[in-house]
C-alpha cells in the first residue's frame, strides 16, 4: 500500500521520488568519480602548471599554490616555432577535415545503391579507419620510402615524401611532407565521414527523390536540390567532430614525420617540450593556447555557420 503514490513515504521514510534521485546518484557516481579524477582534476592542474615554472626535477617543490607567473606564455609566444606550428596545425586540420568529408561523401553516394560485392567494398573502405594508427603510419612510411618504397618505383624520380619540406610540382613550390601528412589524414578518416553520411542517406525518405525524377530533375539536380539539403546537418556535425579531433591530434604526425620537414603541429611541440626539453610549464602553456584557439574556432563556427543550439544538441 505504501508504494502507491509519489508523495507517500516508504519504509525508510523517504518518498519514492527521493529514493529514485538517490539511486540515480549512486548509480552514476562511479562514472562521475573516474571522470573527475582522471579528466577534470588533471585539466585544472594542467592550467595551473601552465602558470608555474615547473620541471620534473623541481615539481615536488613547485606546489599547488604560489609562484604563479605568465612567463611560460610570453616565452612560448615569443618563439617563432610556435607560430609556424600553429599555422601548420590550421592547414593540416582544415585540409584534412575538408578532404575526408568530401571523399566520404563521394564514397557514400557511390555505395548508396546495391551492386554485386557491395559488402566487400564497404568492408575494404572501413579498414584504414579501424586499423591501428601505428600500423598504418608504418605502412605509409615503408610505401613512400625513397629507397625501397613501392610508390617510388612507379615514379620516374623518387620523392622523399615524408622527409622533404619543399619541392616543386609543375613549377610551383609545394610543402611535400605537409601535403603527404594531409593526404594520410584524408585517407585514414574518410571512412568515418562515409559511415555517418551513408547512414543518413539510407534514412532519407524515397518519395522526395521519386517526385524529383517525375518532375524531370537530372541526377546532378537531384543531388544539388534534393539530397544535399538533407545532408547539411550531418556534414556540419562531421565538420565539427573532425575539426576538433584533428586540431589536437598527435599520433599521426608524430608517427609519420616526428614533426620534421615542416610538419610540426602544436601537439607534437607540446610532447617535445614535455619529454625532450623537460619544460612542463611551457608544454602546458602551449596545450592551453591550443585548446583556447580550438574553443574560439568552435564558438565562431557554431555562432555563424551551424545555427547555434540546434546542431549542438544533435551531437
Amino acid at each position: 500500500m505504501t508504494t502507491a503514490g509519489g508523495g507517500r513515504l516508504t519504509r525508510r521514510g523517504r518518498t519514492l521520488q527521493q529514493q529514485e534521485a538517490r539511486a540515480g546518484l549512486v548509480l552514476i557516481s562511479p562514472t562521475l568519480l573516474i571522470t573527475l579524477v582522471v579528466v577534470v582534476a588533471p585539466l585544472l592542474w594542467a592550467i595551473m602548471l601552465a602558470f608555474q615554472d615547473a620541471r620534473l626535477i623541481n615539481i615536488r617543490r613547485t606546489g599547488l599554490f604560489g609562484n604563479y607567473t605568465l612567463e611560460n606564455f610570453s616565452y612560448v609566444i615569443s618563439e617563432p616555432g610556435f607560430w609556424s606550428a600553429l599555422l601548420n596545425t590550421l592547414l593540416y586540420t582544415i585540409a584534412g577535415t575538408a578532404l575526408s568529408i568530401v571523399i566520404g561523401l563521394v564514397a557514400a553516394l557511390a555505395l548508396r545503391g546495391a551492386f554485386k560485392g557491395r559488402t566487400l567494398v564497404r568492408a575494404s573502405i572501413l579498414i584504414p579507419y579501424v586499423a591501428p594508427v601505428v600500423a598504418v603510419a608504418f605502412l605509409w612510411e615503408v610505401m613512400l620510402n625513397p629507397q625501397f618504397g613501392i610508390v617510388n618505383t612507379w615514379l620516374s624520380e623518387p620523392i622523399a615524401f615524408l622527409t622533404q619540406a619543399r619541392g616543386s610540382f609543375l613549377g610551383l613550390q609545394v610543402p611535400v611532407a605537409l601535403l603527404t601528412v594531409i593526404a594520410f589524414e584524408a585517407w585514414r578518416y574518410f571512412p568515418f565521414a562515409f559511415l555517418f553520411i551513408l547512414a543518413r542517406l539510407q534514412a532519407l525518405p524515397g518519395e522526395l527523390e521519386e517526385a524529383a525524377v517525375v518532375d524531370g530533375a537530372t541526377p546532378t539536380q537531384r543531388f544539388r536540390y534534393v539530397i544535399m539539403p538533407q545532408l547539411w546537418r550531418v556534414v556540419a556535425l562531421l565538420a565539427v567532430l573532425r575539426f576538433v579531433f584533428t586540431f589536437t591530434k598527435f599520433d599521426d604526425v608524430y608517427l609519420l614525420t616526428g614533426g620534421g620537414a615542416g610538419t610540426e603541429v602544436v601537439s607534437v611541440r607540446v610532447y617535445n617540450f614535455l619529454t625532450a626539453r623537460d619544460d612542463i610549464g611551457a608544454s602546458a602553456a602551449q596545450a592551453i593556447v591550443l585548446a583556447v584557439v580550438l574553443v574560439v574556432f568552435l564558438a565562431v563556427y557554431l555562432r555563424f555557420f551551424a545555427g547555434g543550439e540546434r546542431d549542438q544538441r544533435s551531437l
Partner: protein
C-alpha cells in the same frame, strides 16, 4: 542527347570507376603489408617494385614474435584491452541506466559533461597525467594506463548505452518490478539481456580504443620494454636499423589482424552504435 540522359550515362561510367578507385586505395596498402611480411628483406631491396614474393617465408613472423618480443607485447595489449572493456562496462551500465531512467539532480548537466570529455583533447590531459604518474612512480605500470583508457571511454559508452536503454520499453521493467524484482535485479535480469547488441558494441568500442591507443602508452610505458603494448612496440622498433622492414611488417600484421577480425565479426553492431547519435534530433 538530353542533359538527363547524358548525366545518367556519365554516372553509369563514373560510379564503377569511383568504387574501383576507393577499393584500390583502401585494400591495396593492406595487401601490400601482408605480401611484404612473408618475404626476405633481400628480395625487397633487390626488387622493390614486385608485389608477389618469389619465395614465401614465415621466418619473419617467428622473428618478430619471438626475438623481438611481440608475444609479450600482445599479452600486455590483451591485458590492457580486456581489463578496459570489463571495467568500462561495469561502470557505464549503471551510469547509463541512471541517465536513461532515473530522475535525479544534475542529470542534464551530466550529459553535457560526457560530451565535453568526448571532445576533450588528449594532449592537454597528457601533461598532468605524465607528471602525476612520474611522481607516483606509476610509469611503466599497466593499471595506470588502463585507468586512463577507462576514463576516456566511459563518457562515450554511457552515451551509447543510454540511447539503447531508452528503447527498452518501460512496461517490461514495470512488469519485473511487480514480479518482485528490485532495481538491480531488474537491470540484471531484464534490461541487460534485452540490450545485448548495445553491450557488444560498447565492449568493442572500448577494446578498439585500448588496443589502438598510442600517446598514453608512449608516455607511460616507453622506458620499460617488458610492459610495452603492441602499438608501442612497433613504433619503437620501427626506428631501429637492425630490424629488417619485412620483419616489422609481420609485426604490423600481428598488430592489425586482431582488431580487423574483431571489427568485422561485429561490424554491423558497432557502426550502428557509432552513428546512432547522428540520427537523433
Amino acid at each position: 542527347m538530353t542533359r538527363d540522359r547524358f548525366e545518367r550515362a556519365l554516372f553509369r561510367v563514373l560510379r564503377p570507376l569511383v568504387i574501383a578507385f576507393l577499393t584500390v586505395i583502401t585494400a591495396f596498402p593492406f595487401l601490400y603489408m601482408v605480401m611484404l611480411s612473408v618475404r626476405d628483406i633481400q628480395e625487397l631491396i633487390l626488387d622493390p617494385g614486385s608485389l608477389w614474393p618469389q619465395s614465401f617465408t614465415l621466418s619473419t613472423y617467428a622473428d618478430v614474435l619471438g626475438r623481438q618480443g611481440f608475444v609479450t607485447f600482445m599479452g600486455n595489449s590483451a591485458i590492457v584491452a580486456v581489463a578496459s572493456v570489463l571495467v568500462t562496462l561495469l561502470i557505464s551500465i549503471p551510469g547509463a541506466y541512471a541517465v536513461a531512467r532515473l530522475r535525479f539532480f544534475g542529470r542534464r548537466q551530466v550529459h553535457f559533461l560526457f560530451l565535453a570529455v568526448y571532445l576533450f583533447p588528449a594532449i592537454v590531459l597528457a601533461i598532468p597525467l605524465f607528471v602525476l604518474f612520474t611522481m607516483l612512480g606509476l610509469r611503466g605500470s599497466l593499471p595506470g594506463l588502463i585507468l586512463v583508457y577507462i576514463a576516456q571511454t566511459v563518457p562515450v559508452t554511457v552515451y551509447m548505452l543510454r540511447n539503447y536503454f531508452e528503447t527498452v520499453p518501460q512496461s517490461v521493467e514495470e512488469a519485473a518490478a511487480i514480479d518482485g524484482c528490485g532495481r538491480m535485479e531488474t537491470i540484471w535480469r531484464v534490461v541487460l539481456p534485452l540490450s545485448k547488441p548495445a553491450l557488444m558494441a560498447t565492449g568493442l568500442y572500448a577494446f578498439m580504443i585500448a588496443w589502438n591507443e598510442f600517446l598514453f602508452a608512449l608516455l607511460f610505458l616507453v622506458e620499460r620494454r617488458e610492459s610495452w603494448t603492441v602499438s608501442l612496440g612497433l613504433s619503437q622498433l620501427a626506428g631501429s636499423i637492425e630490424i629488417p622492414t619485412t620483419v616489422l611488417m609481420a609485426g604490423s600484421v600481428v598488430l592489425t589482424l586482431p582488431i580487423v577480425v574483431v571489427f568485422f565479426a561485429s561490424e554491423r553492431l558497432l557502426t550502428e552504435g557509432l552513428t546512432a547519435g547522428a540520427e537523433k534530433g
